[in-house]
Symmetry: C2
Subunit: 385 residues, 2 copies
């Protein structure tokens, strides 16, 4: 186990009807609010009206940024920052999935920064402060509700980068808010959660038994609840478990003392920066191919994965066969729940592979399980066609 520092100040408020705490939060954080949301699904489900009713009852002044994109854009973030600066916003309330929260984080840091907020994504600067941020999560997926990461796309330069945002002050997670998530988004969310665990599970760090078991616990729980939530969108228990797994998968618990990977996320970001495909769909395609490309770096880890997560029977199999059986089980699971498994599913050909490979490695080789250069990335993308 390596040395580590863990610090996560986000207050997680989980369960049915928890939105009622919003009134108390207004009393604590202030009445001038920037409300940030996406394409309008929260209006269809009635969540928008509920939020507005509580804010109005508390006498709040509400500015809005609507229409945050699935891959949130710098231009949208800039709108929010301008509103914050012009209207003396006390705090930001993000209502939506990871994209909305990521955009709101960028607004929160950008609002108290004199330079261009893109500096935090192009690694030119690190935020020194932020407006308080509350979130009401509507999708089990990114974990953004309880970490300080944020991914923003600069559409002008076709760059998509993860940067340091800010921890939400509080996040409200009501499984019922995820009942209306459409089937495809539910599936992408499941792929996203599992991919986050993979990025932190596949590691050469030795002596991390609790971290390893925690990661396997999340994978097993997602696997056991995925189909239930897909088949019955209003299954409270399945939705609750996925929601909680999504948060625990990326709130800093799994990587303590562990050298993590994250190459596959960089590859997917490069793909979706060019093709604007769903993040979770891209991950479901690329991850099994990444696994095939790298597993020989640590066959033991992939054996453990196969046996503990996919219940592969090791009897009579070679180490490689066990490891590969786990990878096949991963791919088969993604396929079974209806996730895409090939770039061709998104009409992506080999045309821009070199461009994507280059874009995935802007600061040099990526990943730690196996250091991947542009040519490695190109190879994995070719395997994913």
């Amino acid at each position: 186990m390596n040395n580590f520092v863990y610090h996560n100040p986000t207050e997680l408020i989980f369960g049915k009807g928890q939105i009622s705490v919003l009134a108390d939060k207004v009393q604590k954080l202030g009445k001038s609010i920037l409300l940030v949301y996406g394409g309008g699904s929260i209006k269809r489900t009635g969540l928008y009206d509920k939020v507005i009713a509580i804010l109005q009852e508390q006498g709040c002044t509400v500015n809005e940024v609507a229409g945050v994109e699935p891959n949130p854009r710098l231009s949208t973030v800039q709108k929010g920052i301008d509103l914050c600066k012009q209207n003396k916003i006390d705090w930001i309330l993000a209502v939506g999935g990871g994209s909305v929260i990521d955009a709101a984080k960028a607004m929160a840091t950008g609002a108290v920064y004199e330079g261009n907020v893109w500096d935090f994504y192009s690694r030119k600067a690190v935020p020194k402060g932020a407006l308080p941020l509350g979130t009401i999560l509507t999708l089990a997926a990114t974990g953004s509700e309880m970490n300080r990461g944020s991914v923003i796309t600069n559409w002008e330069t076709q760059e998509k980068h993860g940067g340091t945002g800010t921890f939400p002050t509080f996040s409200i997670l009501d499984p019922e808010h995820t009942f209306s998530v459409p089937k495809d988004q539910t599936i992408y969310g499941i792929c996203d959660i599992m991919s986050h665990v993979f990025e932190q599970y596949f590691s050469h760090t030795e002596n991390i038994p609790l971290q390893t078991r925690f990661a396997e616990s999340i994978l097993l729980t997602v696997i056991e609840n995925a189909q239930k939530a897909i088949d019955n969108p209003n299954d409270y228990d399945a939705r609750a478990n996925l929601l909680y797994c999504g948060t625990m998968a990326l709130n800093g618990t799994l990587p303590v003392g562990v050298v993590t990977d994250w190459a596959t996320h960089s590859i997917e970001h490069a793909v979706s920066a060019i093709y604007d495909i769903p993040h979770g769909g891209g991950l479901a395609i690329i991850f099994p191919q990444w696994m095939r490309y790298v597993y020989k770096e640590n066959v033991e880890r992939f054996k453990r994965f196969a046996i503990h997560v996919w219940n592969v029977d090791p009897a009579g199999k070679s180490d490689d066969e066990i490891a590969l059986a786990g990878i096949e089980a991963t791919e088969a699971f993604f396929k079974k729940i209806g996730a895409p498994t090939r770039l061709a599913d998104y009409q992506i050909t080999d045309e821009k592979i070199d461009e994507m490979a280059k874009k995935a490695t802007p600061f040099g080789p990526i990943g730690n399980f196996k250091k991947l250069h542009a040519e490695d990335v190109a190879q994995i993308l070719r395997m994913s066609l």
Copy 2:
């Protein structure tokens, strides 16, 4: 899964040599420090000198409370509070195990309270504030380094109660600081950690798959590292795993959305309030008997425990036999690592059983897995003789 709120602002600083962050903490928190420690083992190991050297180099003024007892006493806490009030202490630094940290929490809350700090333990009041508290942990056991619980003994009234303290601002966990922990204390710590998990694992709450797996993950990791740390006190990896398990067992992760029990802790507190026995030793004795007394309330849960934690083969066994095999495995494990298994090991007879049973239930019946009245507690204590 029930609704829950999770919020844990403690910064966990883990690993070899992390004590060096202390200088930075002084810069942030201030130079007038109350240093709190126990019976002097930190002087023998040299940790005291290291801490003082850093504080001196930073130009700190240091007041001290030494000699905090294994079951920390209200009178000792009061000394610390008086020092805080008289010397304008900026923050408290606790160096030691759970007892020292628990006492320091009571000092931190008492220092900014006009009434008697015992109010926070006799349930007359809840702390509204506290001095900042840093901790340097020297024992894997109580989890106090990352929660706001605190257990204090009022020796005059022979009462031992858990109360609300304050979250440490930061906690430094260096496995090397636990190398010098004597064998018996190492064993008690292991029993304590496992007992904390038991209190949160044995629950009737349905649909808590991730919480269940996390709890089992901690138990498995403790079981796998216990003997290593006992046999080789300088085994960094074993010590590191126990230390991290101790923190995760009681930092609020396991009980989210779960109705937990805690009856056995109340029983043990009543025993050690009268006989002043080691907390971990008392738990090792009482827990298996509590299990035997209550398991029929939810045989399924005890079956799962037996199979997933103790690898009990269910083939050919009745439900009760599987459940009991898990309980026997628990008792056998405690015995194997050298923990006491009978109250007689501490020369405790049936003389004061009714007194202890009454003391364990001062506010009415205890526990949730099975509500225990004084007569139930007396029965469990008799089974533990």
